[in-house]
Amino acid sequence: MTMDEDRQGFAAEYALGTLDSDERAQAEALLLVDPEFVAEVKRWERRLGELNVLVAPVEPPAPLWEQIKARVADAGPAEPMRLPEVAVAPAAAAAAPSAQVIDLTRRVRRWRALTAATAALAACLIGVVVARDLRPDLMPSGLRPNTRVVERVIEKEVVREGPSARPAQLVAVFQKDEQSPAFVMSVDVDKRTVTVRQVAAERLADKSYQLWIATAPGAAPQSLGVLGNDEFTVKATLAAYDPAVINNATFGISLEPLGGSPTDRPTGPVIHAKLLQVTPGQ
């Protein structure tokens, strides 16, 4: 698959640095799952990185080194990053799954039960990647599952390094398959907005993608709107929902007739499902 023009421009602008924080979070989500995007960003970082030669060096305050040393000592030896094991394939089940993964799995089932009640879950639903307030540096590059898993939801959760005063932001990548992200979604809990960027989803002339939210297990999905056919990003408001509700909500994208579902429920296959997991206590 070759990168479409928008994704190339997105990678270039990420490296240049002109994206806003929402878009940066989306790009960082793509960096976790999309090797082509990673390669493109690296090429741009190299091309533009030469400009650093002209930046005047400035000596940092001397005590900084002691602080860095202390933090490195706290963090332990340089090892391939800390990340919870991902329950992807049966082989991984040997490693005791963390409570978090179990919880996520339960939520996968919830979403499935939900979609089964409303629409057939499409066979192409393969992967969902969740990251909270992305820290791509914590992601080992080799973590991506290399077995093809059909009809299995893959979860990765990035754990934050420590508390932060940053506003809550949740990001997820919706994938057609392991190599092909279709949508990236970011949710700003404080501002109560959700932004969906169509990355490589097939653009169909006679169909529309529609975004849904399910606020609780078993709750009926409610439409957040139809994703524009020509637009790359769509911003929907979550103003009607409490931040606590948003934190625990499940999001889905369904394929609908042009203009959206004729009913108030998803009617077409749910091509992408989305789980948001908030790391407890943060």
Partner: protein, 181 residues
């Protein structure tokens, strides 16, 4: 500054957990990375924090550094820039009042003294930048050196943010074509 080959060697040692190598890497690169962060953040307390995070990440990710894909210094600078940009974007959404005069002073003119350090790659890149229209070139440099967003560029260049986006992307594609790689 050490040569690129020396930095590659240090990175390999750091990847194995060599703390002495890490300190040498820090000594060799700290002023450059701090300069990069400070230029974008314009506040030393923020630059201090970013520098710590940057070296923490370098310590943890040295093993994933690939000398075939990146040079050590551009790799490290990219980490420092991305950290700085993540921070400034979150901050500036809350308060962009950080007096525009300071932003202006940060300017886009790079340090002329460093020109003697110019690499062949940089010469080519500057050649390509020189082929862009004056204001497009300034946009790219303001974005790279001072971390300006589309919105900030839109104000300065008195154009809608979407137009800025189109110009930036076109400029970047022209640079890529010009570089031929």
């Amino acid at each position: 500054m050490l040569t690129s080959a020396e930095l590659v060697w240090l990175m390999a040692a750091v990847a194995k957990g060599d703390q002495a190598a890490f300190e040498r890497l820090y000594v060799a690169t700290r002023a450059k990375l701090y300069g990069v962060a400070l230029r974008i953040l314009r506040r030393s307390d923020l630059a201090d924090e970013v520098l710590q995070e940057t070296y923490l990440k370098i310590w943890h990710s040295a093993g994933s550094f690939d000398p075939k894909v990146a040079s050590p210094i551009t790799w490290m600078v990219a980490i420092a820039r991305n950290r700085s940009l993540d921070l400034i974007r979150k901050k500036s959404e809350v308060s962009l009042e950080d007096e525009p005069a300071a932003a202006e002073a940060a300017g886009e003119e790079p340090n002329p003294l460093a020109r003697r350090e110019m690499t062949e790659e940089l010469r080519r890149l500057l050649g390509c930048l020189g082929q862009l229209q004056e204001d497009r070139r300034r946009m790219v440099l303001l974005a790279y050196y001072s971390g300006w967003s589309r919105e900030q560029l839109a104000v300065k260049f008195d154009a809608p943010a979407n137009t800025i986006k189109t110009w930036l992307r076109r400029s970047l594609m022209e640079i890529r074509e010009c570089l031929g790689s």
